[in-house]
Symmetry: C2
Subunit: 243 residues, 2 copies
């Protein structure tokens, strides 16, 4: 009679643990209960619980230390596990640029944008522009990016009092939307610097730039945001590892 498909125990456990992570029950840096304690909470064997933690570890949500315990991974960009910006300089050294928010506003999406965000054309979108200097207080810009976030993700209160968007958007999404970035799909192409780009990167107009279009999804494949980043590819490259 049931139309619902068979769902293994360990997946149910995994999803519940993930919800508790997103809810902030174990803030990054603190340790979760050990395997046996969690297994008892759920009334499953250690092996089943371990399989849930294993998958969350593979998906970069947890970090496990043998002999110590299990912690929630931090989504700050400076952390070594942050997988969503892989910029290198010409000597192949990885960069962790800072963030400078320019402004934000609420816009009506084009047809194309609505499709990219998988929302209705009548839904509003928060639009923001940000610069990524190589370092705090540096004038050397590595990336210039625009971000689109569906308004419907926001709590009503937040939106009414929205004077500034936080610098760390991915951490903000967890507390505000209860959505944690799980995977991202990126399309690489090329664009030419317009006059604004030329000024901000301090390069000639029409210099080619690397254009990265990124859609970020949560663990249920719901779209969290869409982002377009222009990379000053004269000095920096964008690195990807495929498994």
């Amino acid at each position: 009679m049931e139309k619902v498909r068979f769902k293994p125990l360990y997946l149910q456990v995994k999803e519940n643990i993930f919800e508790r992570i997103v809810a902030g029950e174990w803030p990054p840096g603190t340790f979760m209960p050990n395997e046996f304690a969690l297994a008892e909470q759920y009334g499953v064997s250690q092996g089943t619980l371990r399989k849930a933690l294993e998958e969350l570890t593979n998906e970069k949500h947890l970090i496990r230390y043998q002999g110590k315990g299990t912690t929630v991974a931090d989504l700050n960009e400076g952390s070594t596990v942050f997988p969503f910006y892989n910029l290198c300089d010409k000597s192949n050294k990885r960069l962790y640029p800072a963030t400078r928010a320019l402004f934000h506003e609420i816009i009506t999406p084009t047809q194309e944008l609505a499709e990219k965000l998988d929302i209705n054309i009548s839904d509003k979108v928060v639009y923001t522009e940000r610069l990524r200097p190589i370092d705090e207080d540096s004038s050397e810009i590595v990336v210039s990016e625009v971000v689109y976030i569906p308004v419907k993700h926001f709590k009503k209160d937040t939106l009414e009092n929205l004077t500034e968007l936080p610098i760390r958007l991915y951490a903000f999404y967890i507390s505000e939307f209860a959505m944690r970035v799980s995977t991202a799909s990126e399309e690489m192409s090329v664009t030419l610097a317009n006059s604004q780009d030329a000024k901000c990167f301090n390069i000639q107009e029409n210099t080619p730039l690397l254009l990265v279009k990124r859609t970020s999804l949560d663990i249920h494949s719901r779209i969290i945001e869409y982002r377009e980043s222009k990379v000053n590819s004269e000095k920096y490259t964008y690195k990807v590892t495929i498994n």
Copy 2:
């Protein structure tokens, strides 16, 4: 006394199974022995053997079908599992371009190339140029690429009689080098079309192109080849999914 580090049973089993895969014991499309049979061969429990197969599956070397069996993944580009070329057209439809080999020769590497291939500056390198038309017999070129392969990987006989390199290099590497591409590291940047590029892509000179520099590694992180691909990014984009 032993200086060798502790190596779990399932990893030893995994590595041996991988060697048998590379040796061609189970050609793609055929089924391997089932879990119990393999477990008995190695004298380990089903659970341990399963963990070995699980990792090989995660790494895209095996494909498992519930109720049917386990097969070796094909490295042909047309196959849905081929993970090393993710080209899309503007409507986001994935492309599987054909390959047209232009020529090859044996060269002496520059210092920079020797470093990229992790070889000695005195080691020789096979250099080849290839075009990727959108389709067999099409004049529409999607990608133009150059590939560098260390000569030391080749069998002596092969090299002496080398008139043509095969179209499917990754499959060739398995039979010739006993090396199977396991991961790849890609650097994205931008370049301008030179006169040769302009002719082959049928575009204006100095049009910006997407430049992908890829290093391919086997399961032991040994470098198999280094490749630079120029993508006609006016019409096509390069897509990457991050987990």
